[in-house]
Symmetry: C2
Subunit: 321 residues, 2 copies
């Protein structure tokens, strides 16, 4: 297959491209490098099956030749990034998503949206199943990301319903691993870099809020299965008739950890003598977040394999280098 | 002031243009007439202060001359309309809103977004205050409207925060009155037209779901006050410090009525011998909807004046003609 990957120079995009190339597919990577990094993809640039085009997909993209699938991952994804680029974040989630759905429509290509657990906001149910409607502040600072992704999902379903596009929506929960940016602002990379540098670990709130962390190779395995599965195959999705493969699927690790416990584990694994420092919780920070992955288990035969300790060990090793 | 009004040929747009012209302002009306009607505005076309441009604002708009305010009302607004035009609805709420915010930014103009009570979805609190986050299905058929408007609000707040645009967001609850389309699909026009034609009145569900109906002249008075009020004036908003004039304000009538009661009142007022027929409730239809208008009362000194009976009498007279 010839697959267009937007945001392919980002953390998840880079791993996705690597995996898809290893399966023998062609990748056309579109990225404007706003938060992605060229160095993430230099390893592939010798590969004739890989091509990089510097392109802001919010401005549109004309692609020569056939396109079998469009994987739309482009978006600033860490809170410091999307708070720094609020309008670009909304643009790529709305205009960018529309442009990529149009690309899929004109090529009759499959479309995979990299959505997010942020569509659940600060959830009132735990764990979150895909039929939960979420609890999102539409006008808060984080809404530039959360509402962009909710609008992306609405657009994706509208193209599925109106134009019969074979759409896939992955709701991706917190993911970590090598190739995260050291200054990315996400909790695992923050903690590891702080611990390795002997700086205080920054915990927001009292650290009792929970997250579930998925190691990147597990997440990518789920994404690839979701993209490559043929429509109409697979077991029933568990949320009723209509919830076929074109409806959202949670991808994440259901092991829930308190942020303060993650900090302690990382301090121990790095042998760091850093202290933990508590800071005020940012606006609308979710108090818990944990995926129900029943649908992914049934549809994709997928579940995470890498333990937190193993994943952290590999990530610490990456940042040590 | 020279005011750009998008969707000025629609039901609310038409009334807004009429009122703004009567106050001595200039209006540049942009409408692609997808659901608006040219006949709504023929009365103004002799007026030198009014100009109509046939324009899809999702495709952008270049305006010659000064612009003091942009009022973004363009959007299919009744459920049959937005279900018929799902992608155009999402486009005008996302791309159209971005384009109009850019217009406001380049002209340093005030920006008023016509948002909606639909951002509250099927609410879990009643009445709805502006700090309620809502309960919206991001992937249901109605999401093309609800999520478009939530993304519009997020975009509007992002331009306010990032570029200091003097933004206003009106969350408009159900409104009725003359110049609604007979086949608009909204409940009051449906009932009146059915009653006048001697057809059965279509009630969805058992009719126990409630709505609050605001007569159009009241609604327009609130919108005009919200647009014309200078930032920094007005009493405190009642939802804390940050909730200034740039934050959302509910506009609607807090008198709550059951749908079945509205049907009965209209049957009586029209002297119709029509029957009421019950149909299945559509997907995600909200069970109740009623504005808390404390903020509008304090900030704008506004509240509805026209009783339901008086408003219905005027609307019935309009449809009789």
């Amino acid at each position: 297959m010839r697959i267009v990957v937007t945001g392919g120079a980002g953390f998840l995009g880079r791993h996705f491209c690597e995996r898809i190339l290893s399966l023998g597919h062609e990748v056309l990577c579109l990225d404007n490098l706003l938060t992605g990094r060229r160095e993430n993809i230099t390893a592939f640039e010798e590969n004739p099956a890989f091509r990089f085009v510097s392109q802001d997909v919010s401005a549109g993209a004309h692609i020569e030749g056939k396109v079998d699938a469009v994987v739309h991952m482009a978006c600033p994804a860490s809170p410091p990034d999307y708070l720094r680029y609020p309008i670009q974040t909304l643009e790529v989630g709305t205009i960018g998503t529309r442009n990529m759905l149009e690309l899929a429509r004109t090529h009759r290509a499959r479309f995979l949206l990299a959505s997010t657990s942020e569509v659940y906001g600060d959830p009132k149910v735990n764990p979150q199943t895909e039929d939960y409607w979420g609890n999102v502040n539409p006008i808060g600072p984080r809404s530039v990301y959360d509402e962009a992704k909710r609008a992306s999902e609405a657009l994706t379903m509208a193209y599925h319903r109106k134009h019969g596009i074979d759409t896939r929506i992955a709701r991706i929960f917190n993911t970590y691993g090598p190739w995260m940016r050291a200054n990315d602002g996400r909790v695992v990379s923050n903690f590891i870099v702080q611990a390795l540098q002997g700086k205080d670990l920054t915990v927001y709130g009292d650290g009792s809020q929970t997250r579930s962390f998925c190691y990147v190779s597990d997440l990518i395995e789920g994404l690839v299965r979701l993209l490559l599965m043929e429509a109409g195959t697979g077991a029933a999705g568990g949320l009723g008739e209509e919830w076929g493969i074109n409806y959202p699927i949670n991808l994440g690790n259901p092991r829930e950890e308190k942020i303060a416990d993650i900090a302690r584990i990382i301090l121990k694994m790095t042998g760091s003598s850093s202290q933990v420092r508590f800071h005020p919780l940012p606006a609308d920070d979710p108090k818990l977040r944990c995926p129900d992955i029943s649908r992914a288990r049934r549809f994709l035969g997928w579940e995470p394999k890498v333990s937190l300790e193993e994943g952290l060990a590999r990530t610490i090793e990456y940042f040590r280098d």
